[in-house]
Every structure is written in C-alpha cells, then in structure tokens.
C-alpha cells in the first residue's frame, strides 16, 4: 500500500488497483471547520480532473477533483452525518471516496508524502 499526494491537496492510498481518496491535513486546515461534504455515488466514471466531490467549510466551498481516472466504488457515507471527520482525521477516517484506477500510470506524476509535506512548507 502506498500513499500519493497531488498539488490539488488530495491524497490517494493505493492498494492494487483500488485507491482511497481524501483531502490532505493541510487542505483541511486551510478550509477551516468543514460543515458539509458531498461524495460521489458508486458506479460513477471519473476522468482525471473531473469534479468528484464537494466540500464546504465556514469559509468557503470548493470542489474535490478526481486525482486519477476510474470508477467510483464507494463514497464515504459517514461524512453526510459527520462532515467534521474531515477535520478530525483528514488522512484517515475523513476519506471521501474509493475508486478503481483505470490507469496506474497516472500515479507517476504525483508526490510521495515527504515531497508533499516539503512542498506545503513552501506555500
């Protein structure tokens, strides 16, 4: 299992061809208290860069992009009742959706954890 990050502050925890996707701790902190999260339905086909989910905080609303192409396997239903999970555990329990990756090659351009954290320091 390996962890990847994007410049859009999403993370992917990849196991075989299945990826769990969420937003990084840095993104969750920048957004502030999350008050609403909408996750995609299972079966939806996503292309890399599509709007996949919506996250709304007391400060702002923004889209969560599909970091890679593939089919949605499951949205995190716990977020509907408790969007605060994204603040409490952004890179764990606060995941947004699981997807089946269509093209593993898309992971190549992403950062590993150390590179991502270092890049955040420069922002």
């Amino acid at each position: 299992m390996s962890l990847y990050f994007t410049k859009e502050h999403e993370w992917l925890r990849v196991d075989g061809d299945v990826a769990v996707v969420g937003i990084s701790k840095h993104a969750a902190e920048a957004l502030g208290d999350i008050v609403f999260a909408e996750t995609p339905e299972a079966g939806r086909d996503l292309s890399k860069g599509d709007d996949a989910a919506v996250v709304e905080s007391v400060k702002a609303a923004s889209d969560v992009y599909a970091p890679a192409s593939g089919e949605v396997l499951e949205g995190n239903e716990a977020l509907a009742d408790n969007p605060g999970l994204v603040n409490e555990d952004p890179e764990g329990e606060g995941w947004f959706f699981k997807m089946k990756l269509a093209n593993q090659g898309e992971l190549d351009g992403m950062m590993d954890e150390a590179a991502y954290r270092a890049w955040c320091e420069t922002l």
Partner: protein, 528 residues
C-alpha cells in the same frame, strides 16, 4: 480618536469600580433584551378583537385549516418587537458599511420621495397601457441612460437581481450561439470573478472551467488564450474584478474570445468604479448586468428587492426576453408575445416588467446626479478606496498594492498576523469598535482576504474614523492580542458558533416541554 472627542458627559453619581449591577430583566437601560415572537404571543390568542364567527356554515367542504401555531400579537406588540430588534441591527443609515463587492452606498431620500409618488407607487402591472404611460416612459428613459452609460446596443430591463441578470445575459448568449447552429459546452470563468458567475453558467447547463489569475491579480491572458477553442461558448469576466483591480487587457481578451467564436459576459457588479469613465461597449462586451441596488443607490440588503437590467451588444440583442417597452408614436407600448411578431426572444424571465420601485429610484439618482455627477461618483469611490489602501498598507499586507492604484475596493491578506489570530478575529474586533466588518475570505485567491469598499458615500472624517478603528484592530491582530479571540465583547450577542450552526441548523421553533426538559431552540439536526 474617540467618537466623542470633547469627552463631554452629564455628571453622574459615582459607582464603585467593578461593581456590576445585574438587572432583573436582563435589559441594560436602552439596550433591551427581546424574546422570540413565539415567546411573546400565545398561539391560542388573537391580538385583535374579532367577534367569533359563530356557527355560520362554511363553504370549504371540510378543507378548513386547523391551527398553524402562529402566535397572536396585537399591533403594538408586533411593532415593538421589530423596533427592538432593529436597534440591534447595523445598516448603511447607521455608519460605514465597507462590505466589498456589495457597494453599500447611501440611499438618497430624494429617490424615496419620487418612488412614493402615487403615479409610480400605485400602478398595477395589469393596468391598461394607456393609463401607465408615465411609468413606461420612466422605464424607457432609465434603459436609455443605461445604454448610453455603457455604450451598448440595447437593454433588457426585467431581471430582478444581479444573478438573475447574469442568467438573462447568458441565456441571450446561448440563444445567439444556438441560432447559428453552434451550441458550445464550456464557459470559462477567471478566479477573480464573482462567485455567482460559475453558478450561473452551471445553471445554464454549461461546464465551467477556471482561468488562473496572474501575480498582479488580473486574468492570465496567455492561459485564457491557450484554453479558447471551438467548445468554449463564453467567458465570464468581472471588471473591475473582485481584487478591486481593472482588467487593462479587457479589449485584448474580448478580441481573442470573439476570434475563437465565443462571446463575452461581463459581471457589472463593480460598475460603480467606472460609471461615466469607461463604456463596457467599447471593450467588446456582449452582455453585462447592472445592479441598480449597487451602482444606482437603490436599497440593498435584507433580501432586496434588487434589480439587474442587462445591457446587450448587437450580436445578442435580438434574443432578449419579453416583455420590453417600445416607443410607439407619441407614447409607449409593451412588447409582449402577442405583438412581438417574428421575434427571436428566448422567452420570458418574469411575469411582468421588472422592479418598478427600483426603476424610479435609480432614474431619480441618475437625473439628480447628471452625467457629470455620475462620473464624480466613480472618481470619489476610487479615491476613497485608495485612501483606505494607502492608510493601511504599512500595517496590513496588501498583495496587489504594488501593481498601482486600486479601483473601488482595497484588498488585504492576513499575512503578518500573530500565530493563532485570523481574519475572522479582526472582523469581530471591528464589531466591538462599532463598524460593520468588511467582506472576508473572498476572493479566494487572497489568503484570509479582507475586501474593503468604502464607496463615495463616506466623507474624509468618516473614513478617518473607520481607519483609526481598523488600524487599532489590525495592530492587535499583528501583536497577538489574545483578547481579540473573544470579540465581540460588546455586541448584543457574543461570537456565535458558526460551525455548529451550519452542521446542526435549528430551522423551526418547537414549543418547550412543560417539564422544562427542552427549550424552544433545543431541537437538533434541523429542528425536525
């Protein structure tokens, strides 16, 4: 600088320091606590003496409504309730209202006088047209002013607010593209645009794509050009943009968009900065809404009513909505479906003709200012914003101040605040100082944004008072004054828990249980 610089006050008996006398009512002299309407009036009583209906037969066939649990209040009870609440409110009639991108300017009382003339105030939209010639002339004349001020081909008067005007403009654009058999799918919206722009495009069925801003806070022209193509229907640009900056490349942007076969929508919410100085028609705009409740001083806030006429280029004008006012001989007529003939109009946006009360006010504003006065409005609004910018930039980070003067609004970021203090804390501190805060956390391109739009309404003295308070609170934020996190200390209510309010909104009143186990506001998760 205190608001009472002479310090005069009537002589009062001494009260021992720190002796805080509790009142039994919770009131503090003229600072009155006020319960909810439901707590004042019982649902089984009526505030007006009406004889009971007796046993007269109803003709409702059993469809009579039972109790709807509304409290019964007398007129004085209701009047006092809302008057008391209004004393806890803040409005443009009370002081500086620097809400960026909202153009909260003074509503001249002359406008109100004109709007209350019976010939305007009492007209009905279904009156015969020959009895409302004056009202139609007013609409036509206002439209003519808007066309001349913007240098555009024509105007659609009926949209009832800014976002409604955006929808109207984009529907015209879509109709124009479809009429040439070229339905396109994508609308480009720069990061510095108003938040309603992408919403409008999505509502019209377009896919929205962002165009980044450059380091100077303007549209990245090269990025825009690179994205233009046969799938792009329109570009929606706010000019001046939400960073308070003029887009100097506007003509080049329009030319590039037109060359690519697309059309240009301009968000006119910030027209106050350029009215009388710049004609959007000269910049290649195809459609632009104008918020009469911003630039043209009609009342604004509290939910309206707004008015959002849309000026249109020759290319999209044929698709404008019905009805509209047309000169006919010596008088005016309304062009409706019946008499529109072979019209290309995309349809209708509202039942009638638009927001008459706002038309009369806006026209009164234009006529009382004249063309030269409107030009001065823009100049003074820009001068005031630059005064705020330059008086604050040593204390607050002003990310675009280096790129020259701003337009009608000055933008600052939270860079330089002490650890743990935020834009929200500064805004709450301003409330304690007796000012409505500026727009915050918008636009998103600036971290912890504070967007200040003073408008031309403020005098130099008024601005100096605001700036003194703003500087004081900004210093506290920089120096890490922890008490700022407690602000507001002196508002009728302390800081509210916005997160809880958004996650578990209480949307309905519930009668408290008799044993006191729940209060009227105790309902969880949406109040049931």
């Amino acid at each position: 600088m205190a608001n009472n610089p002479s310090g005069w006050a009537p002589k009062s008996p001494e009260v021992a320091e720190g002796h805080d006398v509790e009142t039994v009512t919770g009131n503090r002299a003229l600072m009155l606590e006020e319960p909810l309407l439901f707590e004042i009036g019982a649902t089984d009583q009526c505030g007006v003496d009406i004889d009971p209906a007796g046993n007269a037969p109803t003709r409702l066939g059993g469809l009579e409504r039972g109790s709807v649990d509304l409290p019964g209040l007398s007129e004085p009870q209701a009047v006092r309730h809302y008057t008391r609440l209004s004393r806890q409110n803040y409005g443009i009639d009370l002081g500086v209202f620097p809400l960026g991108s909202c153009t909260m300017k003074h509503n001249p009382r002359l406008n109100e006088k004109v709007a209350r003339l019976p010939g305007f105030a009492d007209v009905h939209p279904l009156q015969p047209v020959d009895t409302v010639q004056g009202a139609l002339e007013c609409i036509e004349k206002l439209g003519d002013w808007l066309i001349k001020l913007t240098g555009m081909h024509s105007v659609a008067m009926s949209p009832k607010a800014g976002a409604h005007g955006e929808l109207c403009g984009l529907l015209c654009i879509r109709a124009a593209l479809e009429a040439r058999g070229d339905a396109r799918k994508v609308v480009l919206v720069p990061e510095s645009a108003h938040g309603t722009n992408p919403a409008t495009a999505a509502f019209c069925g377009y896919r929205v794509e962002n165009i980044p801003a450059n380091d100077a806070g303007r549209v990245d022209l090269d990025a825009l050009k690179a994205r233009l193509g046969p799938d792009v229907a329109a570009v929606m640009i706010t000019n001046p943009n939400t960073c308070g900056l003029f887009e100097p490349d506007m003509k080049a942007i329009s030319d590039a968009v037109h060359t690519a076969g697309a059309l240009v929508y301009c968000d006119g919410a910030n027209f106050n900065a350029i009215v009388g100085r710049v004609r959007p028609g000269d910049l290649g705009i195809d459609a632009m809404h104008i918020n009469l409740h911003k630039t043209f001083s009609t009342p604004h806030g509290g939910g309206g009513p707004g008015a959002g006429p849309v000026v249109l280029s020759e290319a999209v004008a044929p698709y404008a909505p019905l009805p509209y006012v047309r000169k006919s001989g010596d008088g005016y007529e309304l062009v409706e479906e019946e008499n529109a003939g072979d019209s290309d109009s995309f349809g209708r946006m509202v039942a009638f003709h638009g927001q008459m009360g706002m038309f009369t006010r806006a026209l009164a504003y234009m006529l009382s200012h004249g063309a030269d006065g409107l030009k001065q409005v823009a100049e003074d609004a820009v001068l005031n914003a630059n005064y705020v910018l330059r008086r604050m930039e040593d204390l607050l980070d002003a990310p675009y101040a280096h790129s020259g003067p701003c337009m009608h609004e000055a933008i600052f970021s939270d860079r330089g605040f002490a650890e743990g203090l935020s834009t929200l804390d500064l805004a709450k501190g301003l409330i304690d100082e007796g000012f409505h805060p500026m727009t915050m956390y918008f636009p998103l391109v600036v971290h912890g944004a504070m967007l200040v739009e003073p408008t031309e309404t403020e005098s130099r003295d008024g601005l100096d008072q605001f700036i003194t308070a703003f500087r004081h609170v900004a210093k506290r934020a920089r120096e890490g004054d922890e008490t700022l996190k407690q602000a507001p200390l002196y508002a009728p209510r302390r800081r509210l828990d916005e997160t809880l309010a958004a996650r578990q909104p209480v949307l309905a009143y519930k009668t408290p249980a008799p044993d006191g186990s729940s209060t009227g506001l105790g309902a969880k998760y949406g109040g049931g």
